[in-house]
């Protein structure tokens, strides 16, 4: 108790001062929290305040100080920003929350072209993480051991305090092994005392089998309880589970964490029905870690301001987006958490909508600033990824994961999508729904083969890893009476009671 109190004081001091954390204090605090939860089942009163300062006034003051410090250190220590500030004759020390807009936003291309120019002079790079690169070449982002240890520790605190992760849980990860999230989640989950399984992005049939397999190890639930994956791979799992005759009772899942891609309500509901688990939608990105967001029950994306400064800017002008308008998330991660790849006003490319003044959140996360959910990318005709996925995923005849290409023609955007069975009736239903949704589509064409699409449609579920397991087409469908008969015959043959 005495030691924990001392560590909490140190942690609170780092939070308030905006200076570097003592990683060993954070790690010890995680251990203390884990022990507390194992002893009492829940933390004591006020534990939530460990994650964020409760007072909005204090939050604003902290954010201003952290931002000033971040700008000063980033301009001093990184070749890219040092040059930029020199060229533009701006004194980094003069930058405040109000004058931040005078710094030019940093594009993904700038970081991708020369990642080392964003690495601080005194950094001690330890891990090179990569983005998935669905839009082309992956972006490389260096992280130090301090960052990895700190972010793992803070993720572990959040998983226990906000996520309800406990030591009896078993966490399965189905995301690309190259992302920083893979490293952080593996460390964070095990720090909470939960077990971790890296299932990987393997054949969905293999993943379903892993999720169903009984574990029977001491102190853990009999099956995997948490699944962390991307929306497109979740879609692939749902599709395969429905096709293969799986049932929610076959799994022990309690929570499915989806991130990295647009998760539609239709897919969320289908996944919840299929797996009997709550599906949570979150937002994160390798480049801006540890900045991330959580989607609340009312469908807003809440982005805490403790770990980075978040702006929503017009994607063309980079001026603040107006209420109700589309905007791109632009993030400055604070140097309290980052000391290697330093970024100022990083343009994530992820489009959201600024909440209209009439739609202020009244949810459980109301104190945390919010936008709409991530809408994906924005087409020249102002159609977002979410618009298209909402349209297509409401239709069960469209196979998951959804594959489409939005083609800009002279007359307007045309939607090409992959459908299992191309039929006129299906096209008509989609056209009707598109009209209801006021999507300015000039035509919908369905194809039965992804190769027939007029362009590439990459989703994270395509980042497939291989296993040596052998799945035949009939295997996953071997269910029902025939399976029972086969089982009974096998049992009889074996002569086992």
């Amino acid at each position: 108790m005495f030691g924990t109190a001392a560590r909490q004081l140190g942690y609170a001091w780092s939070m308030l001062a905006g200076r570097r954390f003592r990683v060993k204090d954070v790690t010890a605090l995680v251990e203390d929290l884990r022990a507390t939860l194992e002893e009492f089942g829940s933390p004591g009163e006020g534990a939530g305040e460990m994650l964020t300062a409760p007072d909005p006034e204090m939050q604003r003051d902290l954010a201003a100080r952290r931002l000033r410090r971040t700008v000063r250190l980033t301009a001093r220590d990184t070749p890219y920003y040092r040059r930029w500030f020199e060229q533009h004759g701006i004194d980094p020390g003069s930058i405040t929350l109000e004058s931040l807009a005078s710094i030019e936003p940093t594009t993904k291309a700038a970081l991708r072209d020369l990642p080392s120019a964003f690495v601080a002079d005194g950094a001690r790079p330890a891990v090179l993480a990569q983005t998935t690169g669905t839009t082309g070449v992956p972006t490389m982002v260096w992280f130090s051991r301090y960052e990895i240890d700190l972010m793992s520790g803070m993720s572990a605190l959040a998983l226990m305090l906000a996520g309800g992760l406990r030591s009896e849980h078993v966490w399965a990860n189905c995301i690309t092994s190259r992302s920083i999230a893979q490293i952080l989640i593996e460390r964070a989950a095990t720090m909470t005392g939960a077990a971790f399984v890296h299932v990987g992005l393997v054949d969905p049939r293999a993943t379903l089998d892993r999720l169903a397999v009984p574990l029977h190890v001491p102190g853990k639930r009999p099956q995997m309880t948490h699944l962390n994956t991307t929306a497109s791979y979740l879609a692939a799992l749902v599709q395969e589970a429905e096709r293969g005759g799986w049932d929610a009772k076959d799994f022990g899942l309690e929570e499915i964490h989806s991130g990295g891609e647009v998760l539609t309500d239709a897919l969320k509901e289908r996944a919840e029905a299929m797996f009997g688990a709550r599906v949570l939608d979150s937002y994160s990105m390798t480049e801006i870690a540890p900045v991330g967001g959580q989607v609340c029950g009312q469908g807003h994306l809440h982005l805490p301001t403790d770990q980075g400064h978040v702006e929503v800017l017009d994607p063309e002008t980079f001026q603040p987006a107006a209420p109700g308008a589309h905007g791109v998330l632009v993030v400055t991660p604070y140097t309290t958490y980052r000391d290697t790849t330093l970024l100022l006003r990083y343009v994530t490319g992820d489009i959201v909508k600024v909440l209209p003044e009439s739609e202020q959140p009244a949810c459980e996360l109301a104190a945390v600033p919010a936008t709409s959910r991530v809408l994906g990318r924005l087409s020249p005709s102002s159609i977002t990824t979410r618009d298209v996925l909402d349209l297509l995923q409401a239709e069960r005849e469209i196979p998951l994961p959804t594959r489409y290409v939005l083609e800009e023609t002279r007359s307007g955007p045309a939607l090409h999508a992959v459908a299992g069975n191309v039929s006129r009736a299906l096209v008509s239903r989609l056209e009707e729904r598109a009209a209801d949704l006021k999507l300015p589509l000039q035509g919908i064409e369905l194809v039965d083969d992804p190769a027939a699409l007029p362009g590439l449609c990459r989703v994270r579920a395509d980042l497939r890893e291989h296993t040596f397991e052998h799945f035949t087409a009939t295997e996953s469908a071997r269910t029902g009476k025939s399976a029972l008969r086969a089982a009974a015959e096998a049992v009889a043959e074996m002569g086992v009671r």
Partner: protein, 332 residues
Amino acid sequence: MSALMTEAVLRGLVLYLLILLTMGVAASYFARVTMPRPPVGRFVWTDIWIMVVALVAMPFAYMHMPIGLVVTIFGVVVFTVSQLVLSPVLGGRNAALVAALLCAADVAAYFAQWPAAVLVVNDLTMILLTVGVANMWAQTGMRAAHVAGLAAALTVYDALATGVSSLTADFVSRVEGLPFAPILATGYGPVSSLAGLGDCLMLAVWPLVAAKAYGRAAGWWAAVVEGTLLLGLTLAVLLTDLEFVPLLLPLGPLIVGQHLFWRRRERARALRGGPERVELAQALEDLPADARSWVALHEGAVVATGSAPGTARRAARQAGVTAVPVVRGTGG
């Protein structure tokens, strides 16, 4: 029997009953009231060592401090703990008010030179303090091993401070009759009959922690053992000319002994394994090899097969098995 002897017997028996009452109130409070606890943290060994060092060092420090300072320190502790122990029952504001009144009454009785009132009010504060601290320890995760460790350390300390040296006697003679004196007493001076706060705490906390760690039976056994020991010691003091008895000298080993006994029982029970582990052991029985075949077993019987572990589990569910079966390969 002389009048002095009769009074001593009476005071001794009342003290015995007061200690039993304190233990009972502590147990009742433990069963009914949840004390506020810090957001993160539970009792660990470091806390025990800090407490041992503090408990050993404090009497020496108190002997050399101005008495006003000693009373002030005790007063702050009494107020804080009383407020803490009463707040879940009365609410924060009322608890603070009652705690303040209690402290004020103790001080007022002292300055009014009403020794009987000081005795009564002080006993009340000591009971509250014992109930509060014992519950705080037990409810913040103090384990049976911690109590045993503390008891072992205090046994040595008590043997030296009370049995061998005059430290305890000197300390008691310095503080008895003062407000917030850390002793539960039914008389001061020549007919004094008292128990130290440390003794009361160990007596109160062990049944709580034993019950939490090893079940109600262990808690009741702890209370019965302590009650019997106390009665024996009370009679010994009354029938002999013993002045100060180091209570922890017999109590400490008794706590350690009970802890070792119950721990051994728990371990033996754990070794026998839960139903899941038993089922795993049954699943190790030989099965005929079958190429690429997995079987699901429930209650020792094969209930389904599959070409992969998950599909075998699914087939078991389809066969009507609601529990999660054990799935194993057949070595094919």
